[in-house]
């Protein structure tokens, strides 16, 4: 602000005409959303913290289990892939909050009105954000998960607890961890778009991912695990363990499908409100 003044004297008072053809398409909105995403520093920080949490916590927990290895019957139930990828549990907060912020920051600043004036059908804005969120989350968390898996196995290998990437289910767990994070981010986006408030969106996200599981824990024994299977985080995380326990967890891809369903329902409600309501 040191050199700029209102009165520069040389400012022309006419805006040149522009007669090129114009049209809104989903691909163009996607490009616009990419411009927004890469020029929003908070997005970069959220993705970076997701990577740090996946790698950092994964290695930390692997070291902990190396120091305190399982004994007896516990060896059979030990899941070295899940241990090395335990950071996903924390990273889901980072990407979920990113999903919320991606849309609520526009509502908070009022920028959403400029976005909707440029794209009056509105929904392409939501879909553009959703696509980029999935791509960006998978793009950073899949390599992070792979690196952490390999590092974790080399740590656990010192106690002969490691699994190789070719072991049945391991590739699914690594890929599933990245996909789980992408859907958690979508859940955040949907809640943010539905509630239009950063605080509200993040609270609702934590409620869906954590609080409902705690609440289900108060139900009597068998009912608790029956209901618990279908809760968002439990269902989604079935895909991130080698041998999900059938008593308390759905089959890997079934569980992931249920998790996707939650995100789809929230996004559909958000889309409904976005299209019909006042901006």
């Amino acid at each position: 602000m040191t050199t700029w003044t209102e009165n520069q004297g040389r400012i022309p008072v006419t805006v040149p005409a522009y007669s090129q053809p114009q049209r809104v398409t989903q691909a163009r909105v996607l490009r616009s959303e990419w411009t927004k995403l890469r020029t929003q520093p908070s997005a970069g920080w959220a993705l970076l913290s997701a990577v740090v949490l996946i790698i950092g916590f994964g290695i930390l927990y692997s070291l902990l289990r190396e120091a305190r290895p399982p004994h007896g019957a516990a060896i059979k139930a030990f899941d070295p892939a899940s241990v090395s990828l335990s950071g996903v549990q924390l990273a889901q907060i980072a990407v979920g909050v990113l999903g919320v912020l991606l849309i609520t920051s526009e509502y908070a600043s009022g920028l959403i009105r400029a976005s909707f004036a440029a794209v009056p059908r509105r929904l392409p804005v939501l879909w553009g954000k959703a696509v980029l969120l999935v791509v960006a989350t998978v793009a950073v968390s899949l390599p992070a998960a792979l690196v952490t898996f390999l590092a974790g196995q080399s740590i656990l290998g010192r106690q002969h607890l490691a699994m190789s990437l070719s072991h049945p289910g391991v590739a699914r767990v690594v890929l599933g961890s990245a996909l789980y994070l992408a859907v958690a981010a979508l859940l955040g986006l949907g809640l943010g778009a539905l509630l239009r408030s950063t605080a509200g969106g993040i609270s609702a996200l934590f409620g869906l991912l954590f609080a409902v599981q705690i609440a289900a824990g108060f139900l009597p024994g068998s009912l608790s695990s029956e209901v618990g299977k279908f809760l968002p985080a439990t269902a989604g995380q079935a895909v991130t363990s080698i041998h999900p326990d059938p008593a308390s967890s759905l089959a890997p891809w079934t569980g992931f499908g249920v998790f996707c369903l939650y995100a789809a329902v929230v996004l559909a409600l958000a889309a409904q409100r976005m299209r019909r309501g006042d901006a």
């Binding site: 700029w4 005409a17 114009q22 809104v24 929003q40 920028l111 901006a279």
Partner: protein, 313 residues
């Protein structure tokens, strides 16, 4: 061209806009005047397709605002110049908007140059002064070279040079055949910028007239005179077409005659004129008279909390 027919918007129990009907024509600058809280911003949001009317209709260039396939070509708007992502640069803010409609990058540079933001285009828009933000908002509105331009309080926060700049800009847009619709809560501002006028109060249409007619009708001209014999002069001038009133300081306020006529009458009667002046009709007085009911009413009703941006300007 903006055509508004029987437009009504209610938020719960509050009626923000009630049965508005008017047309904003191309080729002139139309001012949109009303006290704060009159419903100007609400109306503009409906014109931009952001809020849904409770009833009635809005069309822009013949179509509902949300039905355009090239919206930035049809309609450019600025509601709140502060509505930017604070850390995103002005350039990227405009680029993201341009990309949605397939507007090329060089156009972004063109509008940045046109509003004089070249030197600060790479800085975070959140650190801009209000005047710079206004220019950025106007740049965004003009990206697609739209046929219709809608600006909410565009001169708010600009310095004298900036206000002059925007007046010339708006006149230029109108001269190129565009529909230009500009709101303000200050009559004096509108009188120098617009040629046509839509006045609302309490969400209702008060006047749809040319600026010249509005001024003439609302505040008839008067002559202020002081002379050696005020009583004799008052008796001399009084007639059914002329009213003479005493000002507090002993002068007479004569309406219905020109200053020349008053001077000639005094001279003919041998009365020495000590002071003679044509009173300028006060635009603000005329506006306040016209909208007083609306302002008084407003203090007893709740405004919609989400609409405070108009109040804080």
């Amino acid at each position: 061209m903006i055509e508004i027919h029987a437009l009504t918007k209610r938020y719960g129990a509050t009626t923000a806009v009630s049965d508005l009907t008017f047309t904003v024509r191309p080729g002139t600058v139309t001012g949109f005047l009303g006290p704060n809280g009159a419903g100007k911003t609400t109306t503009m949001r409906m014109i931009l397709g952001l809020d849904q009317p409770t009833s009635g209709s809005v069309t822009v260039n013949g179509r509902p605002p949300r039905m355009h396939t090239a919206p930035l070509r049809e309609l450019g708007g600025m509601l709140d110049p502060r509505a930017v992502h604070p850390s995103r640069s002005a350039y990227h803010h405009l680029l993201a908007l341009a990309q949605t409609n397939g507007i090329r990058r060089s156009r972004v540079d063109e509008v940045i140059d046109a509003v004089g933001l070249r030197e600060v285009a790479g800085r975070g828009a959140g650190k801009f002064s209000l005047g710079m933000s206004q220019r950025l908002g106007i740049a965004a509105a003009l990206l697609g070279d739209p046929a219709t331009v809608v600006l909410d309080e565009p001169v708010n926060g600009l310095d004298v040079e900036g206000i002059r700049w925007i007046r010339v800009l708006l006149a230029d847009l109108a001269a190129r055949g565009k529909t230009v619709f500009v709101s303000s809560h200050l009559m004096s501002e509108i009188a120098q910028t617009a040629t046509h006028l839509i006045v609302i109060g309490r969400g209702r249409l008060i006047a749809d007239t040319s600026v010249a007619e509005f001024i003439a009708a609302a505040a008839p001209a008067a002559v202020r005179v002081r002379s050696s014999n005020q009583d004799a002069l008052a008796g001399l001038l009084s007639s059914p077409d002329v009213t003479v009133a005493a000002a507090g300081d002993g002068a007479l306020i004569v309406s219905g005659l020109s200053a020349g006529q008053v001077g000639a009458a005094a001279s003919a009667a041998g009365i020495t004129v000590l002071e003679l002046a044509a009173e300028q009709a006060s635009l603000e007085d005329a506006f306040v008279d016209l909208t007083q009911d609306a302002v008084e009413f407003r203090t007893t009703t709740g405004d919609r909390p989400g609409h405070m941006n108009e109040e804080t300007k």
